[in-house]
Symmetry: C2
Subunit: 455 residues, 2 copies
C-alpha cells in the first residue's frame, strides 16, 4: 500500500485530507513572509492511539511529520514542509478534568490558551501564561515553544506550569513524563526536555497544567518618558523595589504613534517611550505598588504618569499595548522579532534597534516585556514591496546580532523555528548544539519530526 | 603511568589525596545507614580546567567518578563507590560576581546555600530555595538534586533559579547552558536536563543564579488540630484562599512530642498535628494573610491558633519545625524519607505512614511541606539495633509504595540516589526510564559519572 492509503486505513474516515484546497489552509503559519512547502497530506487525529497509528505509518514510509497546533507560529515553526505529513492536533481539544483541590487541569493539546482560564474560572483558578495570541494559539503550541506572555514577569512561563505530559515518540512509543505533585525529582526532567523542543522530539497528546487562584483585581499605571534612558532607569528602580508586578510593558515612540493613529486614544506621540505597569496583588497592596511605581517613574524623569484601579480604565490602558499588533498589521507586512537581553540592557537594545533600522532603511516598531528584557522589534514593509521586505530582513538579522552582542538571546518566547536556525550556534555554542543534536538523534534517529528546522 | 600517578601529574600539588584517613572523611554522606565503598582517591580541583584534566585522566583509565558537593545527601547520592575517584568540588567555592541590576549571582558549585543570601544581602537580594541543610549543603549539590526547602511553596525550587550552567562532560568537553536573560527559548533546555541529574550526566563547574529582592519581614501563625483530617482541611482552605504564603509546614503528634522534649517549648502534645504558616508579603498584607489563615484554621476545627509579626517570636515558632531534625538525631539513627503526594492527599498519606510503622513495628515521625504535599516521614531506631533498623527500612519501603499508590512521587526534593533506584521505574514507567537511560548513554557512553546509582 502507498503511504496515503495506509494512513487512511489506519485512521478513521475523514482524518486524512489530501484535497489541495483544504491543505492550503494548513501550509502557512503566521510567519507570512516565508514560503511554506507542500505537504503530502494532513492528518487530524482525535486520540493518542490515532497519533500513534499515524506516527507508525509515517515512520514505516519514511515520511516526515510536521506537528501543528493552531498555526500561530511567528518563527516558521509550524509551516508545511515539502513531502511531509502535517499532523494537526486541532481535533484533540478537550478539557478532560479540573482537579480543583490540587489546582490543576488535564487537557488535550488543541485547547486554545485563553479557553483554559475560561474553563477553570468557575473554580476561582486561572492559567497565567498569556501570549498576545492567547485567543488563537493552542496549549500544544505553547508547550512546543515554551511560550511566555505579558504576565510572565510575575508568573513565569509555560514550563513553570506543565506538571505532566503524555508524548508519542518517533517509534510510536507513548511515554508519560512528570508528576501530579507540586515538587518531584525522580529521574531526569523529561518534561523540561519536551517543553520548548518545538515538535522535534515527540508529539504531546495530553497535558496536566498547574493553575493558580485567580486574582481579585488589578491596578494599572501608564507613564511617558522623554528619553529611553529615563524609561530604563524607571524599570530598574521599579524592579529593585521588590514590587510583585504582574505586567511591565514598554512601547517606543514609533509604536505609540501607530497605536494612537489606530485608536485615537490621544497618547503623547512626542514621548520616547510609554511604560505600562500593572499589579494584581490583593487590595490595597496593588494600589500601593502601582502608586510607588508612578513615584519611581516621576523620579526617573517621566513627563506624565497616571494610575487607576478601575477595571474598565485598567483595560483601556492595556489596550494601548494589546492593539500594537493589529495596528501594525493594518499598515503592511509585519516581521515580528523576539529577542531578549538582561533587563538592564533594554534601553541599549532599543537604541541598537533604531540604528539597525536606520542603517538598513527599514521601518521598525519596538515594544515588549520591559520587566524581563524580552522585546519585540517589529519590521514593517508595504505589502508586495520586495525591496522593502529585503531591507526589513537585513535589519531583522542586525537586531538578532545586537541582542547576542548585548549578552542576550535570539528568542525569548517565539522559538527558533526556521528563521533563527542560523543564529542558534552563536548563542549556545558549538559543543552545546552538538549535544542537542545527539539527543535529537537518540530520540528520533530517522529524523521523523519537524525536519529542516534547527535540530 | 598508573591512574593515581597520572592524575597527580595533571593536577596541582595537594589536589589528589590517597591517604586513607583523609579519604575516610569523603566516603560517607548523611545516609548514615548505608555502607559506602572505598574510593581509589579523592581529587580537589580548584578550577574548570582542573576538573577537565581529572575527567580526561579518569576516562582514559576507565576509573569512574563520583562527583561530591558537601556530602549532605540523604539518599546515598554522594557516597563513595569502590574503585572510583571521588571528585570533591569543595575548593571551588567562590562567589564570582553579583549582577545587582539583573538580580543574579555567578558562583562556583562549592558555595554553601546559606552563604549565597549572605553574600547578596548587602544588595537587598536573596536566593530563595532553602533546604533545612542550607548551612551545610552546597549549591552544586542543590543543583544535582533540584533541591527544595521550606519557602518553595511560594518561591519554587532550585530549577526555577538556575539561569546558566557551565558543565564538564564525560569526554572533557566544556559546555555552557542557558542564558543571562529572564526568558529564553533558544534550543533544547539543557539547563533543565542537568538540574536534578544527580551527577550522572556531567560536572557543574560554574552557575548563574537568579535572585529576588529580599522580603522586608514576615508574619507567622501556629495552629494545633485534634485530627489530621482537620489539619488537611485547613491546608486546603488556606491554599484555595489564594494567599501567597512563604511557608506552610506540618508536624504530626509524634514529632511535636519529640520537639517538645528537646526544646521544652510547651507545645500541645495531645494535638494530632501542628501547622505553621508564614507570609513574607509586604506589610500590612502579610498580617492580613496570616490572620486569615488563622481564621480558616479555626473554621477547620483547630484547637488553638496564634500569630505574630514580631521577628523574634516568628523565629521562635519556626524553631519548632527547624529543630525536628536535631531532636530526632539525638534519639537514635534517623532514616529520612522524602515522598510527595498531590496536596489534597497529605492527610491520607500521613495515615498510611502511621499504618506502615505500626505494621512493621517501627518508630515514625512525620513532618514536611504541607503547602506542596512533600512529606518527610522519618524512621528512628536505636543506634546499633540492627533488628529495629531492619523494621524501619521495611516501613520506609511501605511508605514509598503508599506515596505511589496515592498518585505521588518517590522523592520530592532529596533525590533518587541509591536508596530509591528500585522504585524509579514504577513511578516514571518503563518507556520513560528507557528513554532516560538512552540519554545517559548518549552523554556518558562509558558510564563514567556516578556509577551504580539509578541511571
Amino acid at each position: 500500500m502507498g503511504f496515503i492509503e495506509e494512513l487512511g486505513a489506519a485512521l478513521p474516515d475523514g482524518a486524512v485530507v489530501t484535497d489541495l484546497e483544504v491543505l492550503e489552509g494548513y501550509r502557512h503559519d503566521r510567519t507570512t513572509w516565508l514560503t511554506p512547502g507542500h505537504p503530502v497530506a494532513a492528518a487530524f487525529p482525535t486520540s493518542t492511539s490515532e497519533v500513534v497509528a499515524a506516527v507508525k505509518v509515517a515512520a514505516a514510509h519514511r515520511v516526515p511529520i510536521v506537528p501543528r497546533g493552531a498555526g500561530s507560529s511567528l518563527c516558521g515553526g509550524s509551516q508545511a514542509v515539502d513531502g511531509a505529513l502535517t499532523l494537526s492536533l486541532e481535533r484533540m481539544n478537550r478539557v478532560l478534568e479540573i482537579d480543583r483541590a490540587n489546582q490543576a487541569v488535564i487537557l488535550e493539546p488543541g485547547v486554545m490558551n485563553a479557553d483554559i482560564s475560561l474553563a477553570t474560572a468557575a473554580h476561582g483558578l486561572f492559567y497565567p501564561p498569556d501570549p498576545a495570541s492567547k485567543t488563537f494559539c493552542s496549549i500544544g503550541g505553547n508547550i512546543a515553544t515554551n511560550a511566555g506572555g505579558l504576565c510572565c514577569v510575575k508568573y513565569g512561563v509555560t514550563r513553570d506550569y506543565v506538571q505532566r505530559l503524555e508524548v508519542v515518540l518517533a517509534d510510536g512509543t507513548v511515554i508519560e513524563t512528570g508528576h501530579d505533585t507540586i515538587k518531584g525529582v525522580a529521574g531526569l526532567d523529561m518534561t523540561g526536555l519536551f517543553v520548548g523542543s518545538e515538535g522535534t522530539l515527540g508529539i504531546v497528546t495530553r497535558i496536566r497544567l498547574r493553575l493558580r487562584p485567580a486574582p481579585t483585581g488589578a491596578a494599572t499605571m501608564v507613564a511617558f518618558f522623554p528619553t529611553l534612558g529615563a524609561a530604563g532607569e524607571a524599570v530598574s528602580a521599579i524592579t529593585a523595589s521588590g514590587a510583585t508586578l504582574s505586567l511591565m510593558e514598554i512601547m517606543d515612540r514609533a509604536t505609540v504613534g501607530v497605536v494612537d493613529d489606530y485608536t485615537g486614544m490621544g497618547l503623547d506621540r512626542n514621548a520616547a517611550a510609554l511604560l505600562l505597569v500593572q499589579s494584581d496583588s490583593p487590595a490595597p497592596l496593588r494600589n500601593v505598588e502601582v502608586e510607588r511605581a508612578a513615584t519611581l517613574c516621576d523620579a526617573a524623569g517621566a513627563s506624565y504618569t497616571a494610575f487607576t484601579d478601575d477595571p474598565e480604565e485598567s483595560e483601556a490602558l492595556l489596550q494601548a499595548r494589546r492593539l500594537a499588533g493589529p495596528a501594525l498589521e493594518q499598515l503592511g507586512e509585519a516581521i515580528w522579532d523576539d529577542v531578549g537581553v538582561p533587563r538592564s540592557r533594554v534601553p541599549e537594545l532599543i537604541g541598537r534597534i533604531e540604528q539597525a533600522a536606520e542603517r538598513r532603511g527599514a521601518d521598525v516598531y519596538t515594544f515588549g516585556h520591559a520587566g524581563d528584557g524580552n522585546m519585540h522589534p517589529t519590521l514593517l514593509s508595504p505589502r508586495g514591496d520586495d525591496d522593502a521586505r529585503q531591507r526589513a530582513l537585513l535589519a531583522f538579522d542586525d537586531i538578532v546580532e545586537a541582542a547576542l552582542e548585548l549578552g542576550g538571546t535570539i528568542t525569548g518566547e517565539h522559538g527558533v523555528g526556521q528563521i533563527k536556525a542560523a543564529f542558534l550556534e552563536r548563542e549556545v555554542g558549538a559543543a552545546n548544539l552538538a549535544l542537542q543534536r545527539s539527543i535529537k538523534r537518540t530520540l528520533d534517529p530517522g529524523g521523523l519530526f519537524n525536519p529542516g528546522r534547527w535540530l
